[in-house]
């Protein structure tokens, strides 16, 4: 991006608002060091095992936890339309309502999921832990939902973080148009890229979308030598068949080879004394690593299935599509790891 382009982008960014359903400080498993993770609301996929179902809808919602309800009816009293939010008697206007019902609830049994945030408000929250990012090599991770659903806001937030010296990561399904994906990806210091299925049919079946754009985006990121880690959510009964794992391992190895070639080329350019101009451009934290050969090799993180999301479906009155799935055993995880390690990948179990 040119200097003028960045100025224009910043001006536009000031106007932008995002829909966020959580901001979690000192989050583990979302990249290196001490991090703050921003969960952006809305996702085009519908993975059967999703443990953040509150991130699916791109609209604000109410959630109700009956076990915490005192029966005090403060919510009914607070509702401008006199509705009872506990009985899901909701009007069309609920999504846009600032939800005084949830604000009045003394126990947080009733909660509003999703709040609109301007960039300045978001940055105020993100810079709060700057001393800890600095002490730990951490930063901010944008997750979801699918953060690329709010690409313009995300891009503005990444730029603002870079302006303030905050390192960033995005955690994404990579399901987005290629030009949008790459533009956003170049603005982040680290990409945490989901790898759910190599097989198109299985991907469509269990996530509801094609993986063709995803694979294209993964290849583009690797080909450009962007810093990334692949994240495999290991869901027994869905993507843990030997043939599928082997296919994913081959894909991961292909991406790694492509990434190494890109880095080697960049190092060679640097060695020839040429400018290490990369598509990220000057000021890119990625490019500052370029050509030094010190960039860490992309890893593969195996994220074992856990059922902590089950309760969230109940709160939303939904059935859990992956009900009955069991967490993989330690032995199984190690066996899966060995498939990837056998193809030269560095594997971590857990994030």
């Amino acid at each position: 991006m040119t200097q003028a382009g960045r100025v224009a982008a910043r001006a536009a960014a000031a106007e932008r608002r995002g829909l966020v359903f959580d901001i979690r400080r000192d989050a583990a498993h979302d990249g290196p060091g001490i991090r703050t993770t921003v969960f952006l609301k809305g996702c085009p996929l519908s993975c059967a095992w999703c443990h953040n179902p509150e991130g699916l809808s791109p609209e604000p919602e109410l959630s109700f936890n009956a076990s915490r309800c005192l029966g005090c009816s403060s919510c009914v009293t607070a509702c401008p339309d006199g509705l009872d939010p506990r009985t899901r008697q909701r009007a069309a206007g609920c999504a846009a309502c600032p939800a005084p019902c949830a604000e009045a609830c003394p126990t947080d049994a009733l909660r509003r999921i999703g709040r609109g945030l301007g960039l300045a408000e978001l940055m105020a929250e993100l810079r709060a832990d700057k001393p800890f990012y600095d002490a730990s090599g951490g930063g901010v991770t944008f997750s979801g939902g699918e953060p690329l659903m709010q690409a313009a806001f995300l891009e503005a937030a990444l730029l603002a973080c870079r302006d303030e010296g905050i390192r960033t990561a995005i955690e994404t399904s990579s399901f987005a148009p290629p030009e949008i994906f790459m533009r956003v990806a170049r603005g982040a210091d680290l990409l945490l890229l989901d790898l759910k299925f190599a097989d198109e049919g299985l991907h469509r079946l269990h996530t509801g979308v094609s993986n063709a754009p995803i694979l294209a985006n993964l290849r583009a990121a690797a080909r450009e030598g962007l810093a990334y880690a692949l994240r495999l959510p290991l869901i027994p009964g869905y993507n843990d068949a030997e043939v599928e794992l082997t296919a994913m391992a081959e894909l991961a190895a292909e991406l790694l080879a492509s990434w190494r070639a890109a880095r080697a080329a960049r190092a060679a350019r640097a060695a020839r004394g040429l400018s290490a101009a990369t598509p990220g451009g000057p000021g890119s934290a990625v490019s500052s690593d370029a050509g030094l050969g010190g960039a860490p090799e992309p890893e593969l993180h195996i994220l074992p299935y856990h059922d902590s999301g089950t309760g969230k479906y109940a709160l939303r009155g939904l059935a859990y599509p992956a009900a009955g799935t069991e967490a993989p055993s330690r032995g199984r995880l190690e066996r899966v790891a060995s498939i990837f390690e056998g193809r030269g990948l560095r594997v971590r179990i857990g994030a």
Partner: protein, 786 residues
Amino acid sequence: MTERIKALRKASVDAKPSFSSERAVLTTEYYRERAGTLSTPMLRAGNFYHLCDKKTIYIGEGELIVGERGPAPKAVSSFPELTCHSVEDLRILDGRPMTSYAVSEADIEAYRETVIPYWRGRSMRDRAFAELPEAWLAYYEAGYFTEFMEQRAPGHTSLDGTIYRRGLRAAKEEIEQARTLIDWAADRDAWDKDEELKAMALACDAAIRFAERHAELAEGMAAAEPDATRAAELRRIAEICRRVPAEAPRDFWEALQAYWFCHLGTITELNGWDAMSPGRLDLHLGPFYKRDLREGRLTREQAKELLSCLWIKVNNTPAPPKVGVTAAESGTYNDFTNINLGGLTREGEDASNELSYIALEVLDELRLLQPQANLQVSAKTPDGLLKEACRVIRNGAGYPSLFNADEVAQAMIGMGKEPGDAREGGTSGCIETGCFGKEAYILHGYMNLPKILLLALNDGVDAESGRRLGPATGDPRSFKGLDGLYAAFEAQLSHVIETKLHVSHYLDRMYARLAPAPFLSVLIDGCVASGRDYYDGGAKYNTDYIQFVGLGTLSDSFAAIEEFVYRSGRVSMDTLLTALRSDWRDQEALRLLLTNKAPKYGNDDDRADSIAVRVIDTLLKLLDGRPSPRGGIYHIDLLSTTCHVYFGLKTGATPDGRRAGAPESDGTSPSQGADRKGPTAVMKSLGKLGQARTGGTLLNQRFLPAALSGDEGLERLAALVRGYFSLGGHHVQFNVVDTETLRAAQRKPEDYRDLLVRVAGYSDYFVDLDRDHQEEIISRHANESA
């Protein structure tokens, strides 16, 4: 761990704390014969000599460092000249279920026949309580504050490096020199100074005599010892005890023994709060270690064994039991010796050395109740040392605690101390900042901030007793906004402080006149030169602290009122007052609303954090910089030790949603469970307080073990500490234990005897804590991986 250390450790851990009347009887004997014939300092020094000359000398099997306060390990002395136990007190100590002390019938007999008849009515506590003003007693009994000096002598004493450079014979020469400088022509205090200095010289002789008696015993034991190796050790012990503390130590072993005799001397002379501490142990002993190693006299393993022996000695000295009403309460065996590691040199460079690592290993392997140890972390502290400390912390015993050496030095420089002295200081007791070896920094007791807010919400009338204790500050329903309420709070606070100071000064003068400490005065810089006792302003620096408790509960209470009564108006003051007085009867929804929806200190939320800052500003305004009669200057401390539980029991429901009787927040930690945004937000909140303006703050954080697993877990913990200290944090301590373990320990205490947990500025055995304290620790928010 060597076989020797295993055996000594086991003996120490297995020994049951017991009460010994030996010191009380010897003291009674001496006072009965000599009181009235000598000046008070000479009477005190004479009594100290009598104790050193007559008390039972103990050298245990396999010991390398020798000497006990009582006749045997964990036999605890009493101090009837300060506080005289009744027969009933002794029976309670013997029989209470927790932190009991075995009391023999012979000891009870000695008390009934000899000690009580002499001291009842003569002990300082008896004399003080006969004179204390009604207003003070009313506040005291209602739980607005405690008073340290009603039970124990002023303490928090830590040493600098002087004892390793100057033996007591050389100290005596300095004392004699000081006597020659007394201006008998013009100084109205000339006689007092001369008597004090003579007493200091006699106290040196007493400590030397004490060491010599150990030499005599060791020589006798060596002669009778069939094992040649042990006989040689005993002869070496005898040689060391003839050398130190009379002369300066020549090697590492002698240096440790010299310290231990000085430690024993001070805790035999009096029962000062927080016993005694070597202060910056690695800084002072590092040169001995290095030289011995270089000259082939010592190996790393031998140094570690000797250091372990000192550790075990400290563990052998449980805190002296209290008297009166508190005898029935469980307390702690911990006497708060807090060894400082790492930190800065006088010149401001990193002070850590190999001994810092060895000490951490000893701490980790021995896992004893005492001594406490902490790492003073400066920006110059090597990452490797911090990480090693984090590794020990992760093992879950609650230590070492971590301090910000740069902030500690900055706070002391702000209080007017010379930079070199400040950097060579550290923190003692729990978290109290002081200039080791050069300062008398005396704590006067805890003050219950949330209860003072309730006083303001009740127009100065104590709600529990119905008595008017404070000034009439008006009906809260008439207050205009938070500022009106705050002004009433400040008026009540000021009244409580003034009432407390009156008695603090009274007791302070009593100690100076009736219980000077000439031996301690020899050890602390300034007392010899000024000819004044440690308790009479003799030290180079003199500081007085009051410790304020419940900052989190208080700030959350103000924030809840501001948010719901004044800002949104959703709750009327009348409704709130009624709910508080009835302890939320039929008002559970209101209680939960205030608990869950009001801003809370500890979430990096300025709506609550700014109130905490305002409270500290007020405390500073009311107290900081005020002179004390001893020549000291008042500063504030923000720690609670275990007092937040006691104060909680004495305090009605508070506007933050806390129920009557529930614990208050501890130290400067957020209210239990109120911190919902993780440790970084907590640390950000505390980073706003301007902690270097205080004599210390305290932050407890609890982690589930899984959150700190692996090398990354250690690095995360270290980064949290570095981040917090970059924000000006003073102290942080971690409990790394899961709730299931704590619950299991409650169910089957016999299986969890050695489960150490961080309480508040110190670690204690979980099963020795009473139920209230156990629940309080479980209720602290446990950080897990998000």
